[in-house]
C-alpha cells in the first residue's frame, strides 16, 4: 500500500476485538482511514461502534490485533508525546489551578523548558480561549464549558502534531457547545495540528471538519467518507445554507444505514 506523502494519521486495515467472558467482541473490522497533515477529520457513527477504541489506538494506548497505525510515517507502538488528547470529561486535576492544569503536559514532555516559558505558553492559550482572569481558579470554581476550554488548552499546550478529541463537547448545552465550536476554529487558526474528532453531533462535524468519516455499526469499518466543501473560516450561519443542509441530510442517511434502519444505496457503496 502506498503512503500519501502528506498523510499525518494513517490506519491500515485495522482490526481489533475485546476479550470478554463470552468470547472476543470485535469492534473494528478492517478499518482504513487517512488524515492528511493539518486536516480536521470528524468521525461519526452509531453509539458503541468503536469510535473511542479508535482514539485509543491512534494515541498508542492500545495496539490493534491486526493492521497498523501510522503517525507521520512512524509506526505507532506506544504513546507518543506528539499527541494531545481531550475527552468528554474534562478530567482537570482538582488540586491544581487552571494554569497549572494547562501546564501539566509540559512537565512530562518538556521538563527542561524554563518555568516562565511554560507559564507564558499556558497563559497565551488560556487567553485564546477566553479564560483570561481564571488562571488561578480551581476547576471546581468554573462552569462546565470553561472547564472544557481549559481541557482543550491542556491538550494542545505541548504543540502536538496530532490532536485527538473524543466527544469533548458532548456533555455541554447547545449554546455553550456552539461557543466552543468557534473557539475550536480560533485555535485551529493559531495552532497547526492534525485533528481527529469523535462526535455524535452531525452539525458539529459539518461545522468543524474538513472531512467526515462515517463508521458502520460494530464491528466498525469505514462506511462513507465526505469532504466538507465549505470555506475554512466559516461562520455559524453556514450551517443553515442549502449546501450544509444537504450534507447533513446525507450524513443522517448514512447513519441510518449504519444503524440498519435504511437500505444501503448504490451511491453509498461508492
Amino acid at each position: 500500500m502506498s503512503t500519501p506523502s502528506d498523510a499525518q494519521i494513517e490506519l491500515r486495515e485495522v482490526t481489533h476485538a475485546y476479550k470478554t467472558d463470552a468470547g472476543p467482541l470485535p469492534v473494528l473490522d478492517n478499518l482504513s482511514l487517512t488524515v492528511r497533515e493539518g486536516a480536521f477529520c470528524a468521525v461519526v457513527g452509531p453509539s458503541g461502534c468503536g469510535k473511542s477504541t479508535l482514539t485509543r489506538l491512534i494515541a498508542g494506548l492500545m495496539r490493534p490485533d491486526e493492521g497498523q497505525v501510522w503517525l507521520h510515517r512512524e509506526l505507532v507502538t506506544s504513546p507518543k508525546p506528539t499527541v494531545g488528547m481531550a475527552f468528554q470529561n474534562p478530567v482537570l486535576l482538582e488540586w491544581r489551578t487552571i494554569l497549572k492544569n494547562v501546564m501539566l503536559p509540559l512537565e512530562i514532555v518538556a521538563p527542561s523548558m524554563p518555568m516562565a516559558q511554560r507559564e507564558e505558553r499556558a497563559r497565551h492559550l488560556l487567553h485564546l480561549v477566553g479564560l483570561e482572569g481564571f488562571e488561578d481558579k480551581r476547576p471546581s470554581e468554573l462552569s462546565g464549558g470553561m472547564r472544557q476550554r481549559a481541557s482543550l488548552c491542556r491538550s494542545i499546550v505541548h504543540k502536538p502534531e496530532v490532536l485527538i478529541l473524543d466527544e469533548p463537547f458532548g456533555a455541554l448545552d447547545a449554546f455553550t457547545r456552539e461557543d466552543l465550536w468557534q473557539t475550536m476554529h480560533n485555535l485551529r487558526a493559531e495552532e497547526p495540528f492534525t485533528c481527529v474528532l469523535i462526535t455524535h453531533d452531525l452539525r458539529e462535524s459539518v461545522y468543524l471538519a474538513d472531512e467526515i468519516a462515517v463508521l458502520s455499526a460494530r464491528p466498525a469499518r469505514l462506511q462513507y467518507l465526505m469532504e466538507v466543501d465549505l470555506p475554512k473560516d466559516r461562520p455559524l450561519d453556514v450551517l443553515y445554507e442549502p449546501k450544509a443542509v444537504e450534507m447533513l441530510a446525507e450524513l443522517r442517511h448514512q447513519i441510518q444505514i449504519a444503524q440498519g434502519r435504511a437500505a444501503p444505496d448504490a451511491e453509498a457503496a461508492a
Binding site: 494515541a59 494506548l61 488528547m85 478530567v91 486535576l93 488540586w95 501539566l104 514532555v109
Partner: protein, 255 residues
C-alpha cells in the same frame, strides 16, 4: 460575629454547658464520687497528680503517634499494592478482613507474651495493628477507582507509571486517605490504651487509670478519662490540620 471567632466560641460554650449539666446531675442526685465524680472533683485530682498526668500523657501520646505513623506507612504501601493489582486485592482482602475482625483485646496478651518486657514496642505494635486497616482499604479503593481518563491524559504523553502515581493517583487519593486517617488516629489511641490497661507495665495514662482503680481514687479515674478525651481531641484535630494543608482543595466553598 466573624467565622473564626464563632468556630472557637461555639464549641467552648458547648463544653461549658456540658460540664455544668454534669455537675448539676451529680448534685441533684446526691451521687457519691465512687458512683459518679463531678467536674468539681476532677480538678483537685488533676492538680494533685499533675506531673504524673504530663509524664504518662506523653507516654500515651508518643506511642500512639509512632503506631499511627507505622500504620500510615504500612497501610499506604499495602493499599498501593492492592490498588494497582487485582490479584493482590483478591488475595489479601479476606486475610485483612479476618485479621481486622479479631478483637484486639485478645491480641494484647499474645503480643505481650511474644515480646516480654519490650513494653514500648508492644504498645506501638498494638496501636499500629488496630489502625492500619482503614488506611490500607481507603488507599486501595482510591487507587483502584481512579477513572481511566485521569491515567490516560498522562499515559498518552508517554509518562511512566511512577510519574502518573506521583502527579495524579497519589494526590487524587488524599481526601480518602485523610478520611481514613481520622478513623485510624482514634483507633491507634484505643490500641495504646488497651495495652496499657490489659497488660499493665507502669506506663501511660492507662497505668494511671489502673492505680486510681487500685487505690479507690474515683476522681482520679474520671480525671484520666477526661485527659484521654482531651488527648483524643488533640490527635484528631492534628489530623484535621494536616488535611487542611494537604487536601484543602477537596473542600468546596459553600455556594
Amino acid at each position: 460575629m466573624n467565622a473564626q471567632l464563632r468556630g472557637f466560641l461555639v464549641p467552648v460554650v458547648a463544653i461549658v454547658i456540658f460540664l455544668a449539666f454534669w455537675e448539676w446531675l451529680v448534685w441533684v442526685n446526691q451521687w457519691p464520687n465512687y458512683k459518679m465524680a463531678s467536674p468539681s472533683d476532677l480538678w483537685p485530682a488533676f492538680w494533685k497528680f499533675k506531673e504524673l498526668f504530663l509524664i504518662y500523657g506523653w507516654q500515651t501520646l508518643w506511642r500512639t503517634v509512632v503506631g499511627l505513623l507505622l500504620a500510615v506507612v504500612f497501610g499506604t504501601l499495602l493499599g498501593m499494592v492492592m490498588g494497582f493489582s487485582r490479584v493482590a486485592r483478591e488475595a489479601l482482602y479476606p486475610i485483612l478482613v479476618g485479621f481486622n475482625a479479631i478483637p484486639k483485646a485478645t491480641v494484647v496478651p499474645v503480643i505481650a507474651l511474644m515480646f516480654v518486657g519490650a513494653d514500648n514496642m508492644n504498645t506501638v505494635l498494638i496501636a499500629f495493628m488496630i489502625s492500619f486497616f482503614p488506611i490500607a482499604v481507603s488507599v486501595s479503593i482510591g487507587l483502584s477507582t481512579l477513572e481511566p481518563e485521569y491515567r490516560d491524559i498522562l499515559r498518552a504523553l508517554g509518562a511512566s507509571r511512577m510519574t502518573i502515581f506521583w502527579k495524579i493517583a497519589l494526590p487524587k487519593t488524599l481526601p480518602e486517605f485523610f478520611g481514613a486517617l481520622k478513623v485510624a488516629v482514634t483507633l491507634a489511641f484505643i490500641g495504646t490504651n488497651l495495652m496499657e490497661i490489659v497488660e499493665p507495665h507502669g506506663k501511660g495514662l492507662g497505668h494511671l487509670f489502673d492505680s486510681g482503680k487500685i487505690n479507690a481514687d474515683y476522681p482520679l479515674m474520671f480525671a484520666v478519662l477526661i485527659a484521654l478525651a482531651a488527648l483524643g481531641i488533640l490527635l484528631f484535630y492534628g489530623v484535621v490540620l494536616l488535611e487542611r494543608i494537604f487536601a484543602g482543595w477537596a473542600e468546596r466553598g459553600q455556594t
